[in-house]
């Protein structure tokens, strides 16, 4: 482009480039228009609706009345006594928040425990077999989440496979109650989200140069030290990515806690659903949704900061 400029003295230097750049910019906007439309209609718009609704008054039969109110936000954390209007902590909500957070953290931890060795195993297979194992890991994605969750139910319910086998062998005399417990939710979510941990960790281990591990051993590092000082720092981005990929959807999980946790062991997602359904408190539901989103944003910002610092100096 700069050559064209020098050959045409009627244009001031840089003028053609500026014009070309402007055209280029127009084209880019035009090309990204479909994506922009989707983002505005499907993400930004509904989000704005939620923000507005969270500051309104609940309607009598669901929906909202157009009266400003902070009750939706207040209701996320405290509840008003129906007789004397005194405020107290909404214990039910707080225990649900706590259950969501702890179950998500436990799920993340368990997927790490199971996922990292699995990813390591796959990445160290000969190339021809890697594809096969990776395919196996992704098989659950081909099945509907609900179906997979009900399959889990079939395993752990009182008349399910696990209890039947244990009873047959004689290890237990009464079936163990596993359905509708936090264990059931944790178990189900670990199963459902495991591939989301395995795949990014696999990608990181696959990229790992094993000659570096040899170099660490050569420089007097034992197995554990080599893992901690060389392998772990190099696959850390994959581990963090996997953890976020598991933690974020766990926090808002809906189907798994609904099927395996029953009506008692609610999680964040079920609580939100309740407000828009039987609870008929849309502003509270909207406020809760935004809180959940804020929690997700915080963990994403944490991820971005850790990884960008990693790239800058680590």
């Amino acid at each position: 482009m700069s050559e064209a400029t020098t050959h045409r003295p009627t244009y001031r230097p840089g003028e053609l480039e500026a014009e070309a750049n402007a055209a280029d910019n127009r084209n880019r906007w035009l090309l990204s228009l479909p994506a922009l439309v989707i983002i505005v209609c499907a993400a930004a718009g509904p989000l704005l609706v939620m923000v507005v609704y969270s500051f309104l008054t609940p309607g009598d039969y669901g929906n909202v009345k157009w009266e400003f109110s902070l009750e939706g936000w207040i209701g996320t954390l405290v509840q008003r006594d129906i007789f004397d209007d005194t405020l107290m902590w909404a214990d039910a909500h707080l225990s649900i928040f706590w259950r969501s957070l702890s179950l998500s953290l436990i799920t993340t931890f368990l997927t790490l425990i199971f996922g990292v060795p699995t990813a390591w195993f796959i990445a160290t297979q000969p190339p021809s077999r890697k594809q096969f194992w990776l395919f196996l890991v992704t098989v659950p994605f081909w099945t509907n989440l609900l179906v997979r969750t009900i399959a889990i139910q079939e395993l752990i319910r009182s008349e399910g496979v696990i209890n039947l086998v244990l009873l047959k062998i004689g290890i237990i005399t009464e079936p163990i109650q596993m359905m509708f417990t936090d264990f059931a939710i944790g178990f189900g979510m670990t199963y459902v989200y495991l591939p989301l941990m395995v795949l990014p960790v696999y990608a990181a281990v696959d990229k790992l140069d094993f000659r570096l591990v040899e170099a660490a051993h050569d420089l007097y590092a034992g197995r554990w030290t080599a893992f901690r000082r060389v392998i772990l720092p190099l696959i850390k981005p994959g581990i963090i990515a996997g953890s976020i990929l598991v933690f974020v959807p766990s926090l808002g999980a809906y189907v798994t806690p609904r099927v395996l946790g029953g009506g008692k062991n609610l999680m964040f997602g079920n609580l939100i659903e309740l407000q828009f359904g039987a609870g008929r408190n849309w502003p509270l539901g909207a406020a809760l949704s935004l809180m959940l989103m804020a929690a997700v944003m915080v963990s994403l910002i944490f991820y971005v900061r850790v990884t960008s610092r990693e790239q800058a100096d680590g």
């Binding site: 570096l212 040899e214 170099a215 660490a216 051993h217 007097y220 590092a221 030290t225 000082r229 060389v230």
Partner: protein, 354 residues
């Protein structure tokens, strides 16, 4: 220092088994610059990995200062490696890379800092010590890899084709640098290369390998001037192979002429192959006198510092002669198609074990 005793290394099993080393025995002396030279796939890197401890030998033993280390893991051997691709830790700075081995040995902080500074000075990298290893050039990475491997002061330093990724000029510099480092540190260097010139210029001794075996061990001069077999002669430098008849230490060429020759062990009397290096042959135009062979000049190739002549002997054998060029040597070189007289320098004939 290091004794390799009947080391054999086989990879895989059954039909797909591949033997990389066959019954290799060699002694490497303390403070020696020892080179393993051979074409790719000859087993030289496998032998190095056996010494480093990355692979256990299938059979045989590796002794370091008299004690068997063949079953020790690499982190328990006082041996460090400079890897072919350097294998620097990308998440650490230059200084952290150099400090790694010392930290693993549990040296006190002050001592580590002091040794790292020394190493940085030794390889002239003081200014770049805080750089990431991805931010420095190939030659600099090479020097960091050296410093990292030397910092724990190993008894033996193993170098796996460390110069092959560098361009020619840098390679020449590093050859001198490596020699300097070896004499300054007094550490035994075991150097792997496929570059014969590198092996000849740097080594105290060279082991020439092929197909999993060590064919010959000796000083660069031995290896070049007294190769024991055809492969060694062919791999190192330019060679002429001629048919001859051996009786005792005397050799009579099929093309004529009798010479006293060096004879390696295990060569039977009678028909043998002999080696004559091209630069040990003199050629002049005209008819041969006593002790000279008659030949016809086929081609003359001028290459700056020398001229190479391809000669056809009476037996039909082709002989290459390489003569250094001097300002007035032009007239002395016979032209293509001319008859020539060939004389072979005394001691230039070596009998080969085939």
């Amino acid at each position: 220092m290091i004794q390799i005793e009947n080391a054999t290394k086989t990879f895989g099993q059954g039909d797909s088994a591949f033997t990389a080393l066959r019954d290799v025995s060699v002694d490497i002396a303390a403070n020696e610059f020892f080179t393993l030279l051979g074409p790719s796939g000859c087993g030289k890197t496998t032998l190095l990995r056996l010494i480093a401890g990355f692979e256990p030998p299938t059979k045989g033993a590796i002794l370091l200062s008299g004690s068997d280390i063949s079953r020790l893991p690499p982190n328990q051997r006082p041996v460090n490696t400079v890897f072919q691709n350097y294998a620097l830790f990308p998440h650490m700075s230059v200084a952290q890379n150099i400090a790694f081995g010392l930290e693993m040995l549990g040296k006190p902080k002050a001592e580590i800092a002091k040794t790292v500074d020394e190493m940085l000075r030794l390889v002239r990298m003081e200014e770049l010590k805080d750089r990431r290893t991805s931010e420095i050039s190939g030659g600099q990475q090479q020097r960091v890899a050296l410093a990292r491997a030397l910092a724990p002061h190993p008894q033996v330093l193993l170098l796996d084709e460390p110069l092959s990724a560098l361009d020619l000029k840098l390679r020449k510099e590093m050859q001198i640098e490596l020699k300097r480092l070896q004499s300054e540190t007094g550490i035994t260097f075991v150097f792997v290369t496929h570059d014969q010139e590198e092996a000849l210029t740097m080594s105290d001794r060279v082991a020439v390998m092929n197909a999993g075996r060590i064919l010959q061990v000796g000083s660069p001069r031995d290896i070049y001037e007294r190769p024991s077999e055809r492969f060694v002669a062919n791999f190192i430098g330019e060679s002429n192979f001629l048919d001859a008849e051996r009786i005792g230490g005397d050799v009579t060429l099929a093309a004529g002429g009798s010479f006293a020759a060096a004879v390696p062990e295990g060569v039977p009397e009678g028909k043998v192959s002999v080696l004559i290096r091209p630069e040990h042959i003199r050629v002049r135009g005209g008819q041969p006198e006593a002790g000279e062979l008659s030949a016809k000049v086929e081609t003359v190739v001028y290459s700056g510092d020398a001229t190479t002549l391809h000669l056809r002997l009476a037996t039909g054998e082709v002989l290459k002669a390489r003569m250094a060029n001097a300002p007035d040597s032009d007239a002395a070189v016979p032209a293509e198609g001319q008859d020539a007289a060939v004389s072979i320098a005394p001691g230039a004939v070596t009998v080969l074990r085939d």
